[in-house]
């Protein structure tokens, strides 16, 4: 699926659209950044409640293409601006990580 499908097909709120035309082939769900860093696959969407600048840093270093913030957690401006710099799209939903994960999974090739 394309990154933009997170809002086009799943209706999630798009906060940063920088990587919207990129392809994602996997997802990873975790709130532990070390776990994300060590185990998340590249070209994936990270499903998490960690909404801050360090999430973007980890995503960028791990080659993650998009971040999906769950439980409608607020995303600080600093996070969104560094996501723009690192060309990582950010989405938000009221779904929790479990629900978001199976919804995203249904759209992954």
């Amino acid at each position: 699926m394309k990154v933009k499908d997170l809002s086009d097909k799943l209706g999630y709120e798009c906060l940063v659209s920088e990587s919207n035309n990129e392809e994602i082939s996997e997802g990873y769900c975790s709130d532990l950044l070390s776990d994300v860093m060590g185990n998340a696959p590249e070209d994936s969407v990270l499903i998490t409640i960690q909404a801050h600048k360090n999430t973007v840093a980890v995503a960028s270093l791990a080659g993650i293409k998009a971040i999906l913030i769950c439980n409608n957690r607020p995303a600080p401006e600093g996070m969104l601006s560094s996501a723009t710099d690192e060309e990582i799209s950010v989405f938000r939903t009221k779904d929790n990580q479990f629900t978001a994960s199976w919804k995203v999974h249904a759209h992954l090739a």
């Binding site: 532990l32 950044l33 070390s34 860093m37 060590g38 360090n54 840093a57 270093l61 791990a62 600093g78």
Partner: protein, 311 residues
Amino acid sequence: MHVIPLNTDNSPSVILEMIFRLKIKNVMTKDVKTAERNSSMRHIQEIMKQERITGVPIVEGSRLMGIVSMEDLLSAMEQGKIEESARHNMTRNVIVLEEDMPLSFAINYMDKYHYGRFPVLNIHKKLVGIITSRDIVNHLLLEMNTEMTRLEELIPKTKAENDGPVKMNFMCHRFDFENAGRASTEIKKALKKRQIDRKIIRRIAVASYELEINQVVHSKGGRMKFDLNSDSVKITAADNGPGIENVEKALTEGFSTANDWIRSLGFGAGMGLPNVMRVSDEFNIESIAGEGTVVSCLIYTHPEKEKGEKE
């Protein structure tokens, strides 16, 4: 004879850009030696000899009426008309160029019409210059020199960046989550430039980020040092304390001394140092309680030189 052997369709793009960027007015000779219709052919011959040129435009004011070329002069001589005026001996149907045309037009014209020179007119049909194959060759060579210098300056730099040893240094401050990850992001960019395999870059990024976060979370601050060599990257993370009480425990997955606040940010899962060990080819940690910790790790950047199976 005056054909310029330059393909205006599929030459290298640097050359194509050059001949489209350069305008005829940048290349032409502006100080045109002219004569009038009632000038004698002998007088025109004198001009050619003195100025060492092979064609003289015939003008009325600044309006072009014709041109006398070497060939016109020779045939006038043959027919004994050398004392006659230019009026009946000049070439009338002159092919001209306009000053704002790109240089490629002049090259094509040289090719197409086999003339050695073309008068150049401005938008008001006023004679403003003359362009010869010599002008074109001179300017192209000058332009190529400039362009080659520019390209040469690019080459050695990228080469040094690709292979040469580079050292990078970053400071880390306690609880400075704002800048945490900066060193790792920079190092990742530098490695990308060196065209290192994605998977290896990721291993280096993992090690670097964990060590960086460790300094931010656990130390009083420290320094991250990177040595990029031709076949490996060495990361040295040295902090100013407080040192680790029990190093063996710190290396155990799941063990962490982080407080709740740090855990709420997603750190302190007890995976940092184990992650670093897992992705490194060589790993070393030295810590003195009360003084500080130095962690160093080495990752080979070329798979055939890798020691052991990692990831």
